[in-house]
């Protein structure tokens, strides 16, 4: 800025200087020269006139005197006669003797005035020389030569020129100073504004211009500030909106994927990344093989590269912008999942794909299917027996075979009982699971509970020489819980133990206190249960040995009921077993519960 200003000033100055100097040169020179010229000519003519008024013979005598009066100090005059010889003169000239007359003399003698500048001596000052013819009665009788030293004029010109030069230099210095100061003084405000504006353009939207209210640029500065603050506000709003959307995407459980028209990933939320690309295990060598290549930065890669699933590609092909297409896919890996995938296309190109985890839903559906299948199966057998018995009964009655008839009635009765227990168990179970089981809390003595239960099974146990032992000290605290629930739990466990133990085995019930819970172990010395069955033991209808269980009249629901009742009481049920030694079922019940609500499932206890 300053340079430009200076250059402008400087060029202006130089141009004017050049013009001035030319002016000086020409005008001054002309004026000065004109003056000198005129003076010279005047002198020459005057002298010529004088000479013309005197006859030639008398020139020598009379004119020498007159010369003094005509003569000016700086003008030298000489007179030449018609043949070109000098007659007289004031100027100092080298002795002419018989020099041939010069051209100018000749010209003057021919009647022509001339005017020239000569350098008499090399490097000496110039002389202005004029030649004027002398006319007598229209006859050229001689010539006058007048000369004047031009040096003074030249000097004057020279010094004038020098003065001009000095003036120009001063002006240039002024110009430089002016250029330097100018921007600051005159346009300081503009520079500030400029720098503020450029800082804003580079991203600093917090800066504001500083200006005097009366500065002519104030309105501009104000507009600039307003622009910056509005821009900052808009950016802030956009940023917080983007952050909000980002947070939503991050927290969502569903997976969200946005693709460009040629299936490159634009956006993928963390939920989906975790499903499609689970973190490599800690000891895997693979995680280090991709050094410098962030495995998780998948934006820009195509869907196929990141997740090689044949059907997804087909799904995208089928996508359109006016309806959603769905597909259920399986994801392999450490945790196989089933995902419901929905895809739509954007009109301007690109895809939006949403993934919902339906693994749990499908699992429950298949459990339900199995359950229904199982129940139907369980119901079918007794129903079939009842039907066949009731079909045959009329025949035996009519045939008068009382014994056979009674047998069939017995079959009907037993199977009806079986149906009834099954239905009741199912109802209980569904009530417990629906959390509709109301606990009627009362204080119970644990030893008495156990004794009561044992009483139910004593006959059966004795028949098979199974000994029932109770290790339930009287010092155990009172148990506050639903009587029927705890009785059912204990009874089911003891029933199982007695049922599945070989003859002569021992069933031992132990009571103890664990923190705020009562712990009851029902241990049998039977054959034990294989490890792979243990996690599934409490599932409905789960049987280790199908045939054996049904033969003993089990409904398959006993343990399931135990588990759910235990949980309804706020506790848990678990099992442990050693092959060949025996099995121990453990229930843990909180000693007191003031509310009737069941506790949440305690999964960590279920494997004892």
């Amino acid at each position: 800025m300053r340079t430009k200003l200076f250059l402008v000033f400087a060029s202006l100055i130089l141009i004017s200087g050049a013009i001035a100097s030319r002016f000086l040169n020409n005008t001054v020179r002309q004026t000065a020269q004109g003056n000198v010229d005129r003076a010279l000519r005047l002198s020459a003519r005057t002298f010529a006139h004088l000479a013309a008024s005197i006859p030639q013979e008398r020139w020598q005598n009379e004119l020498s005197q007159q010369l003094g009066s005509v003569d000016r100090e700086d003008i030298s005059l000489s007179l030449y006669e018609a043949k070109g010889q000098r007659v007289l003169g004031t100027e100092v000239m080298p002795p002419t003797g018989n020099e041939p007359p010069s051209n100018e003399v000749k010209q003057a003698l021919a009647g022509k005035e001339s005017f020239s500048r000569v350098y008499l001596l090399p490097e000496a000052a110039p002389f202005l020389v004029a030649f004027v013819p002398v006319l007598q009665k229209n006859e050229i009788v001689g010539a006058v030569r007048a000369s004047i030293n031009h040096a003074p004029t030249e000097h004057a010109l020279e010094s004038a020129r020098q003065d001009l030069l000095v003036a120009i230099v001063f002006l240039l210095a002024f110009a430089a100073g002016g250029a330097w100061m100018g921007p600051r003084l005159f346009s300081g405000a503009i520079t500030d504004l400029l720098s503020t504006a450029s800082r804003m353009a580079n991203g600093d939207l917090q800066i504001r211009s500083v200006f005097h209210p009366r500065d002519p640029l104030a309105p501009l500065a104000k507009s600039l500030d307003l622009l910056a603050s509005n821009l900052a506000k808009s950016l802030e709003a956009l940023k917080s909106e983007r952050d909000l959307v980002g947070r939503i995407l991050e927290r969502m459980e569903e997976g969200v994927l946005v693709l460009t028209a040629d299936r490159h990933i634009t956006l993928i939320n963390p939920a989906l990344r975790d499903v499609l690309m689970p973190k490599p295990s800690l000891n895997a060598a693979t995680s280090s093989s991709r050094s410098g290549d962030d495995v998780f930065d998948v934006r820009g890669r195509t869907l196929m590269e990141v997740f090689r699933h044949a059907e997804l590609s087909g799904l995208l092909d089928r996508s359109s912008d006016h309806e959603r297409v769905k597909l259920e896919i399986e994801v392999q890996g450490l945790r196989p999942r089933r995902l419901m995938v929905t895809s739509t296309r954007f009109r301007e190109g690109g895809y939006l794909v949403v993934f919902v985890d339906v693994t749990e839903i499908r699992r429950l559906e298949s459990l339900r299917r199995d359950f229904v299948a199982n129940v139907s199966h369980e119901l079918r057998t007794p129903v079939a027996s009842i039907r066949s018995a009731s079909e045959t009964l009329p025949l035996t009655i009519r045939g008068g075979d009382e014994a056979a008839s009674l047998r069939f009635v017995d079959i009907i009765e037993r199977n009806a009982d079986r149906l009834q227990s099954l239905v009741e168990d199912l109802l209980d179970l569904s009530k417990i699971e629906a959390k509709e089981y109301r606990l009627a809390i009362e204080g119970l003595s644990v030893p008495r509970l156990v004794a009561h239960i044992f009483g139910l099974f004593r006959d059966r146990a004795e028949r098979r020489k199974i000994s029932l032992e109770a290790d339930v000290p009287g010092t155990l605290p009172i148990l506050h819980t639903d009587r029927r629930a705890i009785e059912t739990v204990l009874s089911n466990l003891v029933d199982n133990a007695v049922k599945y133990c070989p003859d002569g085995a021992t069933v031992r019930v132990t009571g103890s206190v664990e923190k705020d819970r009562l712990r009851i172990d029902v241990k049998d010395s039977g054959l034990g249960i294989e490890k792979q069955h243990l996690p599934r033991l409490f599932e409905r209808f789960y049987r280790v040995d199908e045939g054996r269980s049904r033969a003993k009249g089990g409904t398959g629901l006993g343990l399931s009921i135990v588990k759910h009742l235990a949980e309804a009481m706020g506790g848990s049920a678990s099992v442990s077993s050693t092959m060949g030694t025996g099995t121990t079922f453990t229930v843990r019940i909180p000693l007191s519960r003031t509310d009737a609500k069941p506790s949440p499932t305690a999964m960590e206890d279920s494997l004892g």
Binding site: D262, R263, A285, T286, S289, R290, S291, G292, D293, T302, M304, E305, R308, H309, A310, E311, S313
Partner: protein, 239 residues
């Protein structure tokens, strides 16, 4: 690291069209790989769940795989003719054509497995399948990892994949021996046993093809052909 990068298709080609063609080629190969993986997996699932419907579906699905092979070969020839690639590009194209051949064979093996499954489902299962699923999982894992390596342009796992083929072969021999005993025990078992043995054989071949895929990846990345190490030296050296 630079070896990995030079194989990936994130390079600048003077022509945007060329770049797109290479990208399209890659996508097609990955799609074919995904379909083939699914084919094998579903065939084995059909065996384990005795699902004839699924097996039939897989036989039909192979047609898609074959169509992909044709498309890919066509695209490769197009690129060779029009772009006349050199150096690593040329390697990429030729390797792709080979990869695709192996993938197509794997697809065919899946069809073969499905056909045996349909036959097997006409009779009750001979025995609980323990080794075949394990063998299948290993072979499928090899295919999956080889394709992953292709995607990433990373040959660091390739040697491991090739090593796993020995285990797959070992499984085959074990299964074969076991099935022999069933056949010797009772002539009625022979039908089912031979079909199971066929399935095991197909799985063993899947493993071999997966090895080829891995070798191709090594070639693509390193520029050196790792195949047939034993036969490289001629008879003169007595190797």
């Amino acid at each position: 690291m630079s070896a990995v990068r030079s194989f990936a298709v994130n390079r600048r080609h003077t022509s945007r069209e060329y770049e797109d063609e290479l990208q399209q080629l890659r996508e097609l190969v990955l799609l074919m790989g995904a379909k083939v993986e699914q084919l094998i997996k579903s065939s084995i699932d059909a065996l384990l769940t005795r699902n004839t419907e699924l097996a039939k579906k897989m036989i039909v699905a192979d047609r898609e795989v074959n169509r992909l092979e044709l498309s890919i070969d066509e695209l490769c020839l197009h690129i060779l003719a029009r772009r006349q690639p050199v150096a690593s590009d040329l390697r990429l194209i030729t390797i792709t054509m080979k990869l695709v051949t192996d993938l197509e064979r794997i697809g065919d093996l899946g069809v073969n497995i499905s056909e045996r499954v349909i036959e097997l489902n006409e009779e009750p299962p001979l025995k609980p399948y323990v080794d075949i699923p394990k063998m299948a999982e290993m072979a499928m894992g090899m295919v999956h990892d080889a394709l992953d390596a292709f995607v990433a342009g990373d040959d660091s796992q390739a040697e491991d994949i090739i090593a796993r083929d020995e285990t797959v072969d070992a499984y085959y021999h074990q299964i074969f021996r076991e099935l022999l005993t069933y056949m010797m025990e009772d002539a009625k078992n022979i039908g089912r046993a031979t079909r199971l043995q066929s399935i095991a054989k197909y799985l063993e071949r899947v493993g071999d093809h997966a090895t080829n895929l891995a070798e191709m990846v090594i070639f693509a990345v390193k520029g050196k052909d790792p195949r047939h190490k034993g036969s490289r030296s001629g008879p003169a050296t007595g190797e």
